[in-house]
């Protein structure tokens, strides 16, 4: 067998099914890789060697079968995993072991994917660099002095470092796609409601969407099809069949995009993208045109208000969701000396347990929801959300998908955007509109700028996730995949 950690999930699944490699061998190879390189990368907050090997052994005994049986996976630490520590990279949940599995984790277990461990992230998924993790930042395998993106930097970095062939992320404003872009990996945000939120630690409930991270488009599609589908425990779960994303990815890989119309958004032009990002994007567009696609310019006049709308809606929902961390039912409790009141203990617990970005967003959200400001901020943002949705709907009357760079800049050096929080928010300029609309979007590597990966984003209409996989796979077939320097 060639190096098991360098193989794609599809190749590994085939090797395991054909008895060329056992699931235990494959899982062991990745656990050994984690042991060898994770002190440099810090993609993992917790490694579950025993649990992963037990799940792999069950596959080898023939107890579980399926298209990805035996292929190990890393799971973002915001997803509840029964008996396995789950902290959302926050001190307030240090040591918490959930008594239940998220729906997507149940599905991973049922499909025979051994879980290697839990990946690092910005605390409660608030950030674009993992610098807001309470447990230290993850390093980008392309350059250990640079950020791996966020919030799901650990999941994407684990793929780029060959510690895992697949990973789970969650995307509220770009937390799957932007880390994918800056680590040279694939990250897909499914249609909101296409994958279950049950068992995700809630950040912004109207936006949170779990999805697949992988090194190839086909692998992402395979994982997508394992985790997606209706779940009665999530009231915004869509009761419709999952689009054939795997078939679409394989169709796209044939390199034929005849008749496919790609929309470029006029309002995204000149929006502060680095020149290297723009040139990689335009070269990719030319590659797609050679495959038969047609490029059409469309106008989405309200996209310029997406970032402000998001930074009112998401913190508002977060300030409400994070009220549950009160030192009573789980996690940290500080200052309970027998003399202090419940309110004092709550305030001391939350002060000690939350990091600065989480506190900023709780305060911002509380402000936007307070009487006197509600209509001007939260209410207005929800109306703008309607207008952004209409922009998407009218664009999709003319084109099949919209395309853009995933993020305006390549991986930036640590510390370069933490002093001004708004500079960090700009990383999500191109990813946020989709979250407000609810449609699917994928980031696929499309080139390098100054030796660092650039991501190409494909956005599709709601429940047309298959379309984005087709276009992404076609681009991948034209430009290839990108390998970071050896660690």
């Amino acid at each position: 067998m060639s190096d098991l950690t360098k193989m794609s999930a599809a190749q590994l699944a085939k090797a395991i099914a054909g008895k060329e490699a056992s699931a235990v061998e494959v899982t062991t190879a990745h656990l050994d890789r984690i042991a060898a390189v994770d002190d440099q990368v810090h993609a993992f907050l917790h490694v579950d060697r025993e649990g992963a090997l037990a799940a792999a052994a069950a596959v080898d005994r023939g107890e579980v079968t399926g298209p990805l049986a035996g292929v190990p996976i890393a799971v973002k630490d915001i997803v509840a995993t029964k008996g396995v520590p789950t902290t959302a990279a926050s001190k307030i949940l240090e040591g918490w072991r959930p008594p239940y599995d998220a729906t997507i984790v149940e599905r991973l277990r049922a499909a025979g994917l051994p879980m290697l461990g839990k990946t690092n992230m910005d605390e409660f998924a608030m950030g674009s660099s993992t610098e807001y993790s309470a447990y230290g930042a993850t390093k980008n395998p392309w350059d250990l002095g640079r950020i791996p993106g966020g919030s799901g930097g650990g999941s994407s970095a684990s793929l780029a470092a060959y510690e895992a062939p697949l990973a789970i992320g969650t995307d509220t404003g770009g937390s799957i796609r932007q880390p994918g872009a800056v680590t040279g990996t694939v990250g897909a945000k499914p249609t909101y409601g296409g994958t279950s939120r049950y068992g995700l630690i809630a950040f912004s409930s109207s936006l949170d969407t779990p999805g697949p991270c992988a090194r190839t488009v086909e692998d992402a599609a395979l994982l997508h099809s394992v985790i997606a589908g209706h779940d009665w425990r999530d009231s915004t779960s869509i009761p419709k069949p999952v689009p054939d994303v795997v078939g679409a990815a394989r169709l796209g890989a044939t390199g034929d995009l005849s008749g496919v119309k790609l929309g470029i958004v006029k309002e995204f032009a000149g929006d502060g993208s680095e020149p290297g990002v723009l040139s990689a994007f335009h070269e990719s567009l030319e590659a797609l045109v050679k495959l038969g696609a047609e490029v059409v310019e469309v106008s989405c006049p309200h996209f310029q208000y997406a970032l402000p709308a998001y930074y009112l809606i998401a913190p508002s929902e977060a300030s409400s969701n994070l009220a549950r961390f009160d030192g009573v039912r789980y996690g940290l409790r500080v200052g309970d000396d027998g003399n202090r009141s419940l309110e004092e203990v709550m305030s001391l617990t939350r002060e000690a347990g939350f990091g600065p970005e989480v506190k900023r967003r709780i305060i911002l959200g509380t402000y936007a929801l307070s009487s006197g400001y509600y209509d001007a901020y939260y209410g207005q943002a929800q109306k703008v959300r309607t207008l952004i949705t209409r922009d998407f709907e009218s664009a999709f009357e003319r084109v099949d998908v919209l395309v853009s760079p995933t993020t305006p800049f390549v991986a930036f050096p640590f510390g370069s955007r933490t002093s001004d929080p708004y500079q960090m928010y700009l990383a999500d300029l191109f990813t946020i509109p989709t979250n407000l609309y609810g449609g699917p979007a994928i980031s696929v590597p499309c080139g390098l700028s100054e030796g660092l990966p650039v991501g190409f984003q494909v956005m599709a209409p709601t429940m047309a996730d298959d379309r984005m996989y087709r276009v992404a796979a076609a681009l991948e077939s034209a430009v290839g995949t990108f390998t970071p320097p050896a660690l």
């Binding site: 008594p99 208000y305 402000p308 030192g327 789980y330 305060i363 402000y367 901020y377 703008v384 609810g438």
Partner: protein, 99 residues
């Protein structure tokens, strides 16, 4: 003009049950002011007659079949609690002793 004052941030922190330090108040007030000035552009959009969108899934009144399914045991539900007593979450006192 500042969009948000230090006193307002202190008030919001208290509402949010965050015992922030004086140093944090100074820092957050400046940072939140920058953020609010940036998002205030949202007011430029003429949207009076536009209905709000709370989320993107057009479902209302979601039901499931009325079939009992297993749930967490009392022990499991209490397993993560910082403090539990006789099968319940134990909390610090809520009322002053003289109340």
């Amino acid at each position: 003009m500042a969009a948000i004052s230090r006193e307002e941030v202190a008030h919001l922190a208290r509402l949010s049950r965050l015992a922030v330090t004086e140093e944090e108040l100074d820092r957050f007030a400046g940072q939140l002011d920058v953020i609010l000035q940036s998002v205030a552009r949202i007011g430029e959009v003429a949207a009076d007659d536009i209905p709000p969108t709370s989320h993107s899934v057009p479902l209302t009144n979601v039901y499931r079949d009325d079939v009992p399914v297993p749930c967490l045991t009392q022990e499991e539900a209490l397993s993560g609690a910082p403090d539990a007593f006789e099968g319940r979450f134990r909390v610090p006192r809520i009322l002053d002793e003289e109340d």
